[in-house]
Symmetry: C2
Subunit: 218 residues, 2 copies
DNA sequence: AAATAAATTTAGATTAGTCTAAAAATAGGT
DNA sequence: ACCTATTTTTAGACTAATCTAAATTTATTT
């Protein structure tokens, strides 16, 4: 079907499209893929020939219908495997990304379906991201960043924006996990830090932290 | 670490070494890998530079200590995944080979260990082949081919030599599965076929079949 | 609107893995 | 021991994915 590299580009474009609806630039894609702009141009041409993306020179790329469908399939597999690793093999949520990056490219419709069934058709991966179903549908939660909450407001922690091992381990260390309620006690205008209440504990967190935690209000 | 292709060559050499202890020929390897002899020579050179095989021009190859260890790790993963697919995801034993061929290349020591633990440290895969443990040790069963049994002898079916989907489905259709007792009622010298007794049923099977079924006698 | 800066593409090279065709080495038969 | 057939290796080419460096296009600034 498609190569690992092609699938990785599609996934990257999919994610970047959320940020740049007008079209994903070559440089943005190069940064996301940790490669050079010239390599990106080459690959985009190939994806364009295969009708996976819409591309006009110098104008950036967008996923075609087919490209979108393909990207979602890869993301579905990635998130199902992450769920499997955490729920069945006792991995911590900070250890699963790199392994899922490999597993997401395994080609077998039946495997994906059976895995989904075995896991009980989970709706979200360990980082709170929605898992697309077999038809490619997934819920787009009405979540917001903790940093956007005002003083005295509260919400449930539902996801992380940064899912690096470093950030996740920081959260573990401070006993912040998905599903817990967080209330903003104070906001410091000077540095953007905030004092929060979580499980009876008061905790001061920097803006970098609150900018990477997704919250659902009420 | 090593590429998919390198790992596949190591695995192929490992399997062929059982047949050709003196060294695996370029042509034998080419046939096993379904590629050309010239491609094999190129790859052998690379494996030799990486000290995975012992190679002298025109003399065939053998796995080095490192090559052997590496091949066994890949085989361990292949068989663990096959077990997973059959026991946890309800795959039939004839459907798992190609998927395991992909999964065997996933790189993560921890994943392999946790999967092994999750599965309860199984000793054999769905085709009766032994699963190497974390140290690379596995039992070499004292099995023989059904075709080698004489009239009136019996044994337990413990494995298959050919694990193609076609052969396995033939066995399913005739209700022959691992663990069942088979008794040889008659042997036909002319065509090598035999009449066997399995679960009260009498069945005539060709030599091609009896040559691909492993039996353990007491 | 021209000059400059930034982004993007092109040209040409590189590596891994493969191929075909030709050359070289080994093995077998007499 | 020689001739022939088979096996194996070498030489040169191809594709996918990448790179550097140069050229081109677009964007920004004055």
């Amino acid at each position: 079907m498609f190569s690992f590299s092609e699938e990785n580009y599609l996934k990257a474009i999919f994610h970047l499209e959320r940020k740049y609806q007008a079209g994903v630039s070559t440089n943005a894609l190069a940064e996301e893929m940790e490669t050079k702009a010239s390599s990106v141009t080459d690959m985009i041409k190939k994806l364009s020939e295969k009708e996976l993306v819409i591309y006009k020179k110098y104008q950036g790329v967008k996923l075609s219908e087919l490209g979108n469908k393909t990207a979602i399939k890869v993301i579905r597999k990635h998130r199902l495997w992450e769920y499997f690793l955490v729920e069945k093999l006792d991995f911590n949520w900070d250890e699963v990304h790199d392994i899922a990056e490999q597993l997401e490219h395994i080609k077998s419709e039946k495997l994906t379906q059976e895995l989904d069934k075995f896991l009980g058709f989970p709706k979200r991966d360990p980082h709170g991201d929605p898992i697309p179903d077999a038809q490619g549908n997934f819920s787009v939660a009405n979540k917001m960043l903790l940093a956007e909450l005002d003083k005295a407001e509260k919400g449930i922690c539902v996801g992380v924006k940064d899912s690096s091992s470093e950030f996740l381990r920081f959260l573990d260390k401070n006993n912040i996990s998905l599903g817990k309620e967080i209330k903003v006690l104070e906001k410091e205008a000077f540095d953007g830090s905030m004092l929060i209440l979580i499980e009876e504990r008061e905790l001061r967190i920097s803006q970098l932290i609150s900018n990477n935690l997704y919250i659902k209000t009420q």
